[in-house]
């Protein structure tokens, strides 16, 4: 097995007295597409947000391509200086449930923003790159409109282009289709599938189990404060070994026909 792009070891997070997860270990190999499933409130999003340190884990280690992030201390708790947060986030792309586009910038401006402000590129090349990324998600013709004029699906595709423009080593998707009308889900999943086919490494928190089955090479089911069951889609989704996974999947199949 090649060296992992991302290695989480002993990751723990709690809010006040509420333990979200403790002792999560996960190795993500290059090209891995790992879907993270679990009941709502199980901590899937929190886990994802710990990877780019939008949430600071209470304990554990994050390694990105062999680089240990932050300064682990004896207590097990690591300190994450501002500089390291920014370095990590440059290398990790994030797509949010609510898109979070910058409403005062055009579509191309949104995509180019990180290139200009964070990477210090001049606006000409940044715009070229932004247009190329917009082309990839099929929205080049919307480059000069403002986000308020876009549908939810289009907004999410712009958000994906914004993350891709930074050339991330790994992409994080936090329920990217949960805020969308059912009719708009397909276009976003299509883009994610295309990225998966290009061999991009990604972690995907989702409720779209069918999509996870087709696109992911591994499924991680979160329950009881950790990774409860992990394996290939066939293993976890077709022949789940453990009780809670079985119950979760049965619940989701209830209204299928």
């Amino acid at each position: 097995m090649p060296d992992p792009i991302l290695r989480l070891s002993g990751l723990a997070k709690s809010f006040d007295t509420n333990t979200v997860f403790e002792d999560v270990d996960l190795d993500v190999a290059p090209g891995d597409r790992i879907a993270i499933l679990g009941a709502s409130g199980s901590g899937k999003s929190t886990l994802l947000r710990c990877v780019n340190l939008l949430e600071i884990p209470d304990a554990g280690r994050i390694e990105l391509n062999g680089d240990v992030v932050g300064n682990p201390e004896k207590s097990g708790r690591a300190r994450y200086p501002e500089r390291e947060l920014r370095e990590l986030r440059k290398r990790v792309g994030m797509v949010f449930q609510q898109f979070n586009l910058f409403p005062h910038m055009t579509v191309a401006g949104n995509v180019a923003e990180g290139l200009v402000t964070v990477l210090g590129q001049s606006s000409g090349p940044a715009r070229e790159r932004a247009l190329a990324e917009l082309d990839r998600v099929g929205l080049r013709d919307k480059a000069d409109t403002y986000p308020s004029r876009l549908s939810g699906g289009q907004k999410q595709r712009v958000a994906i282009a914004r993350a891709l423009a930074m050339d991330p080593e790994i992409m994080l998707f936090d329920e990217p289709t949960s805020a969308l009308d059912p009719a708009l889900v397909g276009e976003v999943l299509g883009v994610i599938e295309q990225l998966a086919n290009e061999g991009r490494t990604m972690l995907l928190v989702t409720h779209e189990i069918g999509f996870a089955y087709h696109v992911a090479n591994r499924i991680a089911f979160i329950a009881e404060g950790g990774i409860y069951e992990i394996g290939t889609p066939d293993e976890v989704l077709k022949n789940p070994r453990r009780e809670k996974t079985q119950k979760f999947l049965a619940e989701h199949r209830r209204f299928q026909f």
Partner: protein
């Protein structure tokens, strides 16, 4: 009531009012720029990580918001030189009083604007690797300022009218000159009517212009 309006005696002294208007505009420009930029700094200070900065900023706001500008101007003019070996001109005293008071108010406006920006905007900016300052400058403030333009306009209008308070330390501005003309010609009715009209004539177009600015900035909505 049969009063014979006589504006001729006012217009005969137009140059005195013109000198006053110049003083008013000068004071307004300085206080507007100082008050608003200091207000932004104080608003950022109230969100700072360092506790002493937060306390100092909050203390500043509460002190200057809860004391009358008129008293502040008088205090800076008459009291400060007793405490410190400084020479304070009427212009300086007026600048200090009006700017610091306006900074306290606009700090609250900026703070409200900044707080109104959804956390998702911060997260999206931080997630592409922006620093806190870059996020503030590129993402949060541009949106916040758009939302608070009506309140900032109010503040600007208020600053313009507050300049008349500088007459208390005999700074040469419109009201001060008006008083002078009125006392020479015994025509307070005409003079103060003209002074009030001049404020309206100058302020109204400025306010209209900010409506235009609001509309232009709303393009993206």
């Amino acid at each position: 009531m049969n009063y014979n309006w006589d504006f001729a005696s006012v217009f005969d002294n137009w140059w005195a009012l013109a000198v006053g208007l110049q003083g008013t505009l000068r004071l307004f420009a300085v206080c507007l720029i100082l008050g608003m930029s200091l207000g932004l700094l104080v608003a950022l200070g109230r969100r700072a990580h360092a506790k002493p900065v937060r306390w100092a900023s909050t203390g500043f706001v509460e002190f200057f918001r809860n004391t009358p500008v008129l008293v502040q101007i008088l205090w800076f003019y008459y009291a400060l030189p007793i405490l410190a070996p400084v020479e304070i001109s009427p212009f300086m005293a007026a600048i200090l009083g009006i700017s610091l008071n306006s900074a306290a108010y606009s700090a609250e406006i900026f703070r409200g604007g900044i707080q109104s920006i959804e956390p998702g905007q911060w997260e999206a900016a931080r997630a592409i690797g922006m620093s806190g300052l870059q996020t503030m400058r590129r993402v949060v403030l541009p949106q916040a300022v758009r939302r608070i333009i009506p309140s900032l306009t109010n503040r600007g209008v208020e600053i313009f009218k507050m300049t008349t308070l500088a007459s208390v330390v005999a700074y040469v501005e419109l009201l001060q000159q008006g008083k002078l003309v009125a006392s020479l010609n015994f025509n307070p009715l005409e003079v103060y009517t003209v002074v009030a009209a001049l404020f309206l004539i100058i302020l109204y177009p400025i306010v209209r212009a900010t409506y235009g600015l609001e509309r232009r900035l709303a393009r993206s909505d």
